[in-house]
């Protein structure tokens, strides 16, 4: 039994703020060792979910289990650590002092030098936190999260406010740290981050999970379009052979083609066949995805 203990188990998690339902009956199970991206636009309920996951907010309904126990217990035992957007740092301490101070809160912690190195901030250990850039402070928070050598690492939009270079360096540091056994959950509104660093993407919108799968599955869902046309006696095999086509379905006189390249399918249908009434539609998920990636990409 114990070996199948999930790293995270959320069931029916709900949180409302006044008239706004931030998280709406969200259930999620994360197995040990998974790297999961929580992908969604600002206001999708990612931060609220993470706050409840860590015991920083109390759900109105539903339950949270981390590594088989209460979040507070997992924190007290150093089994979970987090990098949040809201966690503040003391401006008058140096980077190194902040790490050493925090290390003393745990019964057991990794050496300060090691986590500074892994977070890529050894060079600024003597710098006062107040004089560090946003990206450097974020990497300091990451170093602090590495101290207990946690089984579960939670990161809430860890690269917000960083420039492209800062983001790249941060993810490199996280990737360097990636090793077997540690479960990682990170929230992001950047599709490319989710794609590059997660094994699994959980898409959230308006406090609900709208899709959940491997990055390949999600990308496929997101990129795909549906081309529908009236074409009696359609050559299913020829359509299926077109590049980018996932599936071809014939319904009476209509043919439905799921594809990543709708232009190519449409061109084929209109120039090589007798198809008419060609319709190209985005699937619902893509609507969600576009909302995620276009409206908020720069935010």
């Amino acid at each position: 039994m114990t070996s199948t203990q999930p790293a995270v188990e959320l069931s029916g998690l709900t949180k409302t703020f006044g008239a706004v339902t931030a998280v709406d009956g969200l259930s999620l199970r994360v197995e040990p060792g998974e790297v999961v991206a929580f992908l969604g636009p600002n206001g999708a309920g990612k931060t609220t979910t993470i706050d409840m996951l860590l015991g920083l907010a109390r759900p109105d309904a539903g339950s949270v289990r981390i590594l088989g126990g209460e979040p507070a217990d997992a924190i007290a035992r150093g089994r979970v650590a987090a990098v949040l957007q809201t966690g503040g740092l003391l401006k008058d301490l140096t980077v190194g002092e902040t790490v050493r101070l925090t290390a003393n809160f745990y019964r057991h912690s990794r050496p300060a030098e090691e986590v500074l190195e892994r977070a890529g901030i050894t060079g600024i250990a003597d710098r006062v936190v107040g004089r560090c850039s946003g990206g450097q402070q974020q990497r300091l928070r990451f170093a602090l999260a590495l101290l207990p050598d946690p089984d579960l690492m939670v990161l809430d939009e860890p690269t917000t406010g960083m420039d492209v270079e800062g983001r790249r360096e941060f993810w490199q540091a996280l990737r360097r740290d990636a090793r077997s056994g540690r479960t990682v959950i990170f929230a992001t509104h950047y599709l490319d981050e989710a794609d590059a660093y997660a094994d699994r993407i959980v898409l959230v919108r308006q406090g609900r999970i709208v899709a959940d799968g491997t990055t390949a599955e999600i990308k496929n869902l997101a990129a795909g379009r549906l081309v529908r046309a009236t074409l009696p006696g359609a050559d299913q095999a020829a359509l299926a052979a077109l590049p980018g086509v996932d599936a071809v379905e014939v319904r009476g006189d209509s043919v439905l083609v799921r594809t990543a390249d709708s232009d190519l399918v449409a061109r084929h249908l209109l120039t090589r066949t007798a198809a008419r009434d060609v319709e190209i539609t985005s699937r619902n998920l893509e609507d969600a995805f576009l909302a995620l990636t276009t409206d908020h990409a720069g935010a």
């Binding site: 035992r77 503040g88 401006k91 050493r100 019964r107 056994g181």
Partner: protein, 266 residues
């Protein structure tokens, strides 16, 4: 208890027990103290200013004597030591306001440090700085000619120091009341007024009678009387003792309530 997860068996399982004493440790205290002693503003207001006050207002009274024959400069020195210690302990207690405003207390909630251990570290740090403040004032006094017997040095010093515990509680109370980064900027003047009413800057006898009556109910009065009693030989009045007990209880209760409210918030 769950055993180590399959996927984690490739690394040495760290000791996963929660920390002893909720994370309170001498190392944490050491870093806290270093922080405090590095803060020029704190040092200026708690160590330097009261010493300068003594040089400006105390030294000109040299040669004057109290009714029991002891030096007036000693009376001023002890009063200013009380003032120095109360500013010191208040400023450390009130630092929780800054740390809450910065979001550090939220960051701490992601660590095993218990809120009570956090407050305990603040109180101990406050008392250490309070002790340093009393010592500095006494050293300046001794260096400029204050002579007292060993027991009077010790008892007045202990009175000034231990009495400042009230203000550690006061600082925490204010710190949990206002999450502002610059909270000491408005507490500083309040402390000065309270010190005035506590008879730390001028003897209460020189105040008009109405003010003198009011003064007996203000929070510095009891501490001042207690600290100076071994010097004046007047003994501690019941009113002064009651003042000390009531204000300590009030501030500690207020701080505890606000602290509970703060930690219950999830």
């Amino acid at each position: 208890m769950t055993t180590a997860l399959n996927a984690t068996t490739d690394r040495v399982a760290p000791d996963r027990r929660p920390p002893a004493l909720g994370g309170f440790s001498p190392a944490v205290l050491g870093i806290e103290l270093r922080r405090v002693l590095r803060n020029r503003r704190t040092l200026a207001f708690t160590l330097i200013m009261p010493a300068v006050f003594f040089l400006i207002f105390g030294l000109p009274q040299r040669g004057q004597q109290l009714p029991n024959g002891r030096a007036v400069t000693a009376y001023i020195m002890v009063s200013l030591a009380v003032y120095a210690a109360m500013v010191a302990t208040t400023s450390i207690g009130a630092a929780v306001a800054t740390e809450r405003a910065l979001g550090w207390s939220r960051q701490l909630r992601l660590t095993p440090l218990r809120p009570t251990a956090y407050v305990a570290a603040k109180v101990v740090t406050a008392m250490v700085l309070g002790l340093i403040a009393v010592c500095v004032e006494f050293v300046v006094g001794a260096a400029t000619g204050v002579r007292l017997s060993a027991d009077v040095w010790l008892l007045t010093g202990l009175g000034a120091w231990l009495g400042s515990l009230v203000f550690a509680a006061f600082g925490l109370f204010v710190g949990y009341l206002f999450p502002a980064e610059n909270v000491m900027q408005f507490i500083g003047p309040i402390l000065a007024v309270l010190a005035m009413f506590g008879g730390l800057f001028v003897p209460l006898e020189v105040l008009p009678e109405v003010l003198r009556d009011v003064a007996r109910f203000t929070p510095v009065y009891g501490v001042g009387e207690l600290a100076r009693a071994p010097l004046t030989g007047d003994g501690v009045s019941l009113a002064a003792l009651a003042n000390l007990v009531v204000w300590t209880a009030l501030f500690a209760l207020g701080a505890t309530r606000l602290f509970r409210r703060d930690t219950a918030r999830v």
